[in-house]
Symmetry: C2
Subunit: 133 residues, 2 copies
C-alpha cells in the first residue's frame, strides 16, 4: 500500500501555488518543469484538483491554474481526497453475517490519520519554505 505519485505531484503543485503564485494563473508547463513530470500527465492531475474545487483554470493565452480558496482553507486531506478518492483504505470482502469488527477498527485507525491531514493546512507549510520547493 502506497500513496500514488499523483498525490505527491498534487501536493507539491498546491504548495507551489500557495507559496509563490501571485494573482496570475500559472501554466501547466511551468508547474511540470519544476517537478520533472510531463505536462500532459500533470494536467490530468490538475483537472482533478479543478473538479474538487481547489484550483480554477483559465484557457487561452495567459491562462493556467490558480487557487480557488484562501491558503488557510486548503488542507492536506482536501488534496489527497481529490486525487485518491474518499473511499476507505480497507474493505473487508468476506461475507460474514454481521458487521466486521476488523473493518470497524481499520476505519477508526484511518480516521486518526485523516484527522491529522484535515487539520494540516497548506498555509502552515508555505511559511517554512525555502528555495527547494
Amino acid at each position: 500500500m502506497k500513496y500514488s505519485k499523483a498525490t505527491n505531484y498534487a501536493l507539491h503543485t498546491m504548495l507551489f501555488l500557495v507559496a509563490y503564485a501571485p494573482d496570475k494563473p500559472v501554466g501547466v508547463q511551468q508547474l511540470a518543469e519544476r517537478q520533472n513530470v510531463s505536462p500532459t500527465y500533470l494536467s490530468k492531475i490538475l483537472t482533478k484538483l479543478v473538479k474538487a474545487g481547489l484550483v480554477e483554470s483559465a484557457s487561452g493565452a495567459n491562462g493556467g491554474y490558480r487557487l480557488r480558496r484562501r491558503k488557510e482553507e486548503i488542507s492536506f486531506l482536501d488534496i489527497i481526497h481529490a486525487i485518491e478518492g474518499t473511499a476507505s483504505l480497507f474493505d473487508c470482502t468476506l461475507n460474514h453475517s454481521s458487521e466486521c469488527l476488523i473493518q470497524q477498527e481499520m476505519v477508526k485507525a484511518e480516521g486518526q490519520m485523516e484527522e491529522y491531514l484535515r487539520n494540516k493546512m497548506m498555509s502552515e507549510l508555505a511559511g517554512k519554505l525555502t528555495e527547494s520547493h
Copy 2:
C-alpha cells in the same frame, strides 16, 4: 491506495486463532475454508506471519499453525507490518535540495494511524466476537 486483500486474510486468520484456537495447531485447509480463499495462497500469507514471529508452524500430520504470543501482545500493527512491510506510505521521489516538508507531514499523519493500530490488540476483539468470524 488500498490495503491488500492479503492483509484482510491475515487479520481474519489471526483473529480466528486468537478467538477459537486451542493448543492444537490448525491446518491451512481449515483456515482457508472459513475465508473462501485457496489454501496455497493463504499459506503464503501464513508464512509471512511465521517469519514475523506471530505464529509458529508445524509440519506433518497434526501439524498446522498456532499463536506464538499471548493474544494481549498481538496488535493490529504487528499483523499489518508483517504483510505490507514497514516502509512509509508516502515517498517523495522529487529531488529537492532540502528535506521535503510534505513528506514530513505525511509521515506524521501515518504515525497517527499507526499509533492507533499499535495499541489495538487482538484480544480486544476476541471478546466481542459472535459466530461470524
